[in-house]
Amino acid sequence: MTAHTAVAAPGARFKKILRRKDDHGGAPRLSPLWTFVAWLATLAFFAPVAWMVLTSFHREADAATNPPTPFAPLTLDQYKLLFSRDITPFLLNSAMASIISTILVLALAVPTAYALSIKPVRKWTDVMFFFLSTKFLPAIAALLPVYLIVKDAGMLDNVWTLIVLYTAMNLPIAVWMMRSFLAEVPKEILEAAEVDGANLLTVLWRIVAPVAMPGLAATALICFIFSWNEFMFAVNLTATNASTAPVFLVGFITSEGLFLARLCAAATLVSLPVLIAGFAAQDKLVRGLSLGAVK
């Protein structure tokens, strides 16, 4: 096989130079038919999202119709109603739980990743697998003891309870991600810096930080998404003071009956931070979600 490449090299090499980095051999372009299929599939997957957003800008009377009326007049009423009906505290609780737990996760994960990659402790793979193994245990199995402990400690309906749980929930992922990012810091540079007498802080700040910063951002993004979307702990451990956005969504359906347009507005609103963050950092998302294994 390799012999053939060598024979065919001249023309192929020229073509390869012309191609963009992410376009490799095989058919470089989709045929019109397959382009049509690709777009059809894309639109099919996107349709529920589009429908959610569109309905959120409709009046209630135009939302629940059969057949659907996509061209009904647009209005911001649903969003105004949501804010006048106290969605704000829920969003604030979500923001607080997600942001603080993300900061805590990073504060714990970065030194850990340092100890597992740059100056690895012995048996570092065992430590990695210990962290990962905590992810294999379903959260539901921990819910009962956590509920009882939290209840005894008088910490039910408290945002800090969620913060601690979310930190524990995301820490293994963050350790795995940060380790893979820190492992990319070239060992030679680190050694050279040490030979030059740079102390640990200088090394961290001048060499590790610049390389790891995109990784840190990606890790923060993933942790934020998982915390923001978490539902089971939030719905079972909070009541009125500490409830987060997903709990608001479910509670508001049962307490107000079904207002489809308002439901869609609420669903859009609570998904918005994650949608924006996810669109902005698509590539980081892949690596983060695969625990840094896919490069």
Binding site: T65, N66, L116, A168, G278
Partner: protein, 319 residues
């Protein structure tokens, strides 16, 4: 190099070289400790507590009757009809969601690996389902899509039927008539983009010259796919299946929101059944025992899973 630096060291006491590596090892371990201790406290202690509670007869509606019953809760877990249904539902739900979304994700990744008009936009639109908050997605499917009277699904069917001259389209109550497929489809919708992202990353890491060589050799597209692309993607597919399984086994939001485990217990999976045992029946002992069984099951899956992940490490460790 060590032999060169050794002579000046003779002046120092002989104790020093013995302690310094140990001190160095601790210096290396210190950054690790906060996270390790935190994780052990928050994740391992509850598990020990679960083990203890699983040996108790404990219903908070019957205070004062809490007592040690040994393994009888486990006997209950393995013989209870509802729990067996829940195990079966969990397997069906997880297997179908993961398999379907991997296959669809692979198809989409193959398409998006090639250039076409608006590829970047298509990719952005495709990952949207994964980014919508799971509870919001579940509510969206239940009310805006599956609803028999004004959901998008029946509404569209109705519009199409009218287009062809029929008075009214069929009215199907999707969630009641097809509860499990309804949950599965909503989850496949959420997880396919995730699989696509991972597999797309795999496809783009494919060495171009190998594909080119295959083409020069006159391999058909199907042959190239079977003998080159698929083996190359194997690791990525395994990773997708693995991570998908970890998360889909724990599905709670969708079941809680779309079907509440019903009708009957047709869509009650293990997490939801444990939730019901805990917060509806208040049988803490039984819930804990079921939790322990779930953990044991997860450990079995995880053993296979870890082997897969270890293979990702292998080249790095040997380096």
């Amino acid at each position: 190099m060590t032999t060169l630096t050794a002579p000046p060291k003779t002046a120092s006491p002989p104790v020093r070289p013995r302690t310094s590596p140990r001190a160095g090892a601790w210096k290396r371990r210190i950054p690790l400790l906060p996270a390790l201790i935190f994780t052990i406290i928050v994740t391992q202690l509850p598990f020990v507590a679960t083990l203890v509670i699983s040996t108790l007869q404990w219903n908070i509606l019957k205070p004062g009757e809490r007592h040690f019953v040994g393994l009888s809760n486990f006997k209950f877990v393995f013989t209870d009809e509802r729990l067996r249904t829940a195990v079966l539902n969990t397997v069906v739900l997880t297997a179908s969601v993961v398999l379907i979304s991997v296959v669809l994700g692979l198809g989409l990744a193959m398409l998006l690996d090639r250039r076409f008009l608006g590829r970047g936009l298509a990719r952005t639109m495709l990952i949207a389902p994964f980014l919508v908050m799971p509870v919001a997605a579940a509510l969206l499917w239940k009310h805006a899509i599956y609803n028999p009277d004004y959901g998008l699904l029946n509404g569209t069917l109705n519009a199409v039927w009218r287009l062809f001259g029929a008075a009214n389209g069929p009215t199907v109550d999707w969630v009641s008539s097809y509860p499990m497929p309804a949950v599965v489809i909503s989850l496949v919708w959420q997880w396919t983009p995730f699989m696509m992202l991972i597999l797309l990353a795999g496809l783009q890491a494919q060495p171009g010259d190998v594909l080119e060589a295959a083409r020069m050799d006159g391999a058909s597209a199907l042959q190239t796919f079977r003998h080159i692309t698929l083996p190359h993607l194997r690791q990525y597919i395994e990773l997708g299946v693995l991570l998908g399984t970890i998360y889909v086994v724990q599905t709670f939001d969708a079941v809680y929101t779309i079907t509440q485990g019903g009708p009957g217990s047709q869509t009650t999976n293990l997490p939801y059944e444990i939730y019901l045992t805990m917060f509806r029946k208040y049988e803490y002992g039984q819930a804990a025992a079921a939790g322990v069984v779930v953990v044991l099951g997860s450990i079995v899956i995880a053993t296979f899973a870890l082997r897969t992940i270890a293979s990702l490490f292998r080249e790095e460790v040997s380096r």
